[in-house]
């Protein structure tokens, strides 16, 4: 479904700050794959997501979605078939607007016209959508009043509302306290199963990475160093992951914390 061919990203080319963030990445995501992506800081996870979503252009290589070349397509165009949730809970929703306005906008992708799409039918639909996160009675409240966890859950609902072909979760629970992170994680799994979404999730939490999805990718120094799925993925544990990381990584790390944060 998503094909990444020989993608390389170099930041600040030709300067002293030149940094190769991704080097010749090849990745094929199949329909229905739910992939967790792990790796230490600066390994290229977020850059990979930025390339897929189109935030920055690639330095070389191609990205195809459903065999259509989208390498040069702008980020807002790709948003038609990709949903993305950021680490920062304030990025996915507009804080100075009510929940209902936020939801109204996410019903359809693309430029909006002079229609009034909010009505009683929509109200009922929104209340139904918000039930799992207990916000049904707060449609008129500003999103800015919500907690980080509630906001991230709302972002998730908004992203899934348009049934994206690919859902990108960029450490979307990292800024939340453990309790809320757990709740948002559960919701994420529910929505992915319910809507049969294809998804990729960057995480620093190895437990989440192991529990989440059918496939796991490990990145290091701009390379994909491990790609497991099926039975092999099911049998992973944190110690095995750390052991694998140590043997595959090029860099010497002094402690476990340097490898992957729990």
């Amino acid at each position: 479904m998503l094909e990444i061919n020989h993608v390389t990203k170099v930041f600040f080319p030709g300067t002293v700050n030149e940094k190769v963030a991704l080097e010749d990445i090849n990745l094929k995501v199949n329909e229905g794959d739910v992939i967790s992506v792990i790796g230490s800081n600066g390994s290229g996870k977020s850059t990979l997501f930025n390339m897929i979503a189109g935030t920055f252009p690639v330095t070389s290589g191609t990205i195809k979605l459903d065999s259509k070349d989208i390498t040069k397509e702008k980020e807002y165009k790709r948003a038609f078939y990709m949903g993305r949730i950021f680490q920062d809970p304030t990025k996915g929703t507009s804080g100075n607007m009510s929940i209902k306005d936020n939801l109204s906008l996410s019903l359809t992708k693309g430029m909006k016209g002079l229609k009034f799409s909010y009505n009683n039918k929509k109200k009922a639909q929104f209340e139904e959508l918000l039930k799992p996160i207990h916000l049904s009675d707060r449609l008129e409240d500003n999103v800015g009043l919500l907690s980080g966890g509630q906001r991230q859950a709302l972002t998730l609902i908004m992203a899934c509302l348009s049934k994206p072909r690919l859902l990108l979760l960029d450490e979307h629970t990292a800024a939340l306290d453990p309790e809320n992170a757990r709740i948002v994680m559960e919701l994420t799994k529910q929505y992915i199963t319910k809507e049969k979404l294809t998804a990729m999730m960057v995480t620093h939490n190895m437990q989440f990475a192991i529990e989440f999805g059918n496939r796991l990718i490990m990145m290091d120094e701009g390379h994909i160093i491990m790609d497991v799925s099926g039975e092999e993925k099911k049998n992973l544990t944190i110690p095995i992951l750390i052991e694998r990381f140590k043997s595959l990584s090029k860099k010497e790390y002094t402690s476990d914390e340097g490898l992957l944060t729990h």
Binding site: Y76, G92, M97, D101, N102, S104, N142
Partner: protein, 307 residues
């Protein structure tokens, strides 16, 4: 004289609404305003003097303003320079253009031709000219406010609001921020020019230096409005701006009338308006801190009770 304050305030509020769109909704400091208000005045004046029907002249003034806004948006979007600089560029260029529109003159009197402020008293001859003018202006503003409120309840209007709060959201929803900026800044300057067109008719002449310092005055009006009440409803926000504009004009009127007792002359008004904006900002941030402090104390109290 009280009618005068209201008429001035209402005319001024159209401009403040335009500034509201760029500064508050789009979160973009657009200084095109200082130029486009004169453009609106110049276009309307030259057309009325040449015998074009008043509504048509005002429509063209609005469109001229939209064009100014589109110019700023284009500079901002395609050359990737900050909105502030883009606005200053357009504003500066507009000085020359406005002089051209008025036929290389700095001002154009509208004494000998019919304007709205001569037509309205004629239409409502049973009222005094001042009251008739006020009613005419008021009806115009109410219609404009309703149209604007409807626009901001539409999907496009909501999208504009969303962009000011968070550009990434708009991208995630598959909309181009550039396109939305064209719409927003265009509309904003269209309103500002419309205000200029009305102002020229009210004061009886169009002047190319009409717009000097208008942005700050508009901001002062918006901030004064924000002190009246707190809301996130767009219809109340626009109402607040209109009330703020009237209050601002009233303050200026009393400044003119009684200012000499404390040695204030109209020359000091720009300084005072600037100070008013600064004071408003100080009060707003103090309020913010006070409410945060309040919330902190409440939270501490709750924790204590829980224990």
């Amino acid at each position: 004289m009280i009618e005068g304050i209201f008429i001035e305030g209402l005319i001024f509020s159209i401009m403040a609404l335009g500034i509201l769109i760029s500064f508050r909704l789009l979160n973009l400091a657009d200084l095109t305003c200082d130029g486009s208000v004169s453009t609106g005045a110049a276009v309307a004046a030259i057309m009325i003097v040449n015998g074009v029907a008043i509504p048509v002249a005002m429509l063209f003034a609005f469109l001229a303003g939209v064009l100014c806004g589109l110019c700023t948006a284009a500079i901002h979007n395609h050359l990737r320079i900050p909105g502030l600089l883009a606005g200053i560029l357009t504003m500066t260029m507009l000085y020359s253009i406005n002089l051209r529109i008025l036929g290389n003159k700095a001002n154009l009197p509208l004494i000998k031709v019919d304007t709205l402020y001569k037509v309205w008293p004629k239409m409502m001859s049973f009222l005094s000219p001042e009251v008739a003018s006020l009613i005419g202006t008021l009806i115009l503003i109410i219609v404009l406010k309703i149209i604007l409120d409807l626009f901001f309840h539409s999907d496009l209007g909501i999208s504009l609001g969303a962009m000011g709060g968070n550009e990434q959201v708009v991208i995630s929803l598959g909309m181009s921020p550039s396109t939305l900026k064209y719409v927003g800044i265009g509309l904003s300057n269209g309103l500002i020019a419309l205000s200029g067109a009305l102002l020229a008719q009210y004061q009886g002449f169009a002047d190319t230096s009409l717009g000097t310092g208008m942005v700050v005055q508009g901001l002062a009006a918006i901030m004064l409005g924000e002190f009246i009440f707190n809301t996130n409803k767009i219809s109340l926000i626009t109402l607040r701006v209109i009330l703020g504009s009237i209050i601002y004009k009233a303050l200026m009127y009393f400044g003119r009338k009684y200012g000499h007792y404390v040695g204030i002359t109209p020359n000091d008004f720009k300084l005072l308006t600037g100070l008013l904006v600064i004071i408003s900002l100080v009060i707003a941030s103090t309020r913010q801190r006070a409410s945060e402090e309040n919330a902190r104390k409440k939270a501490l109290l709750r924790i204590k009770e829980d224990n």
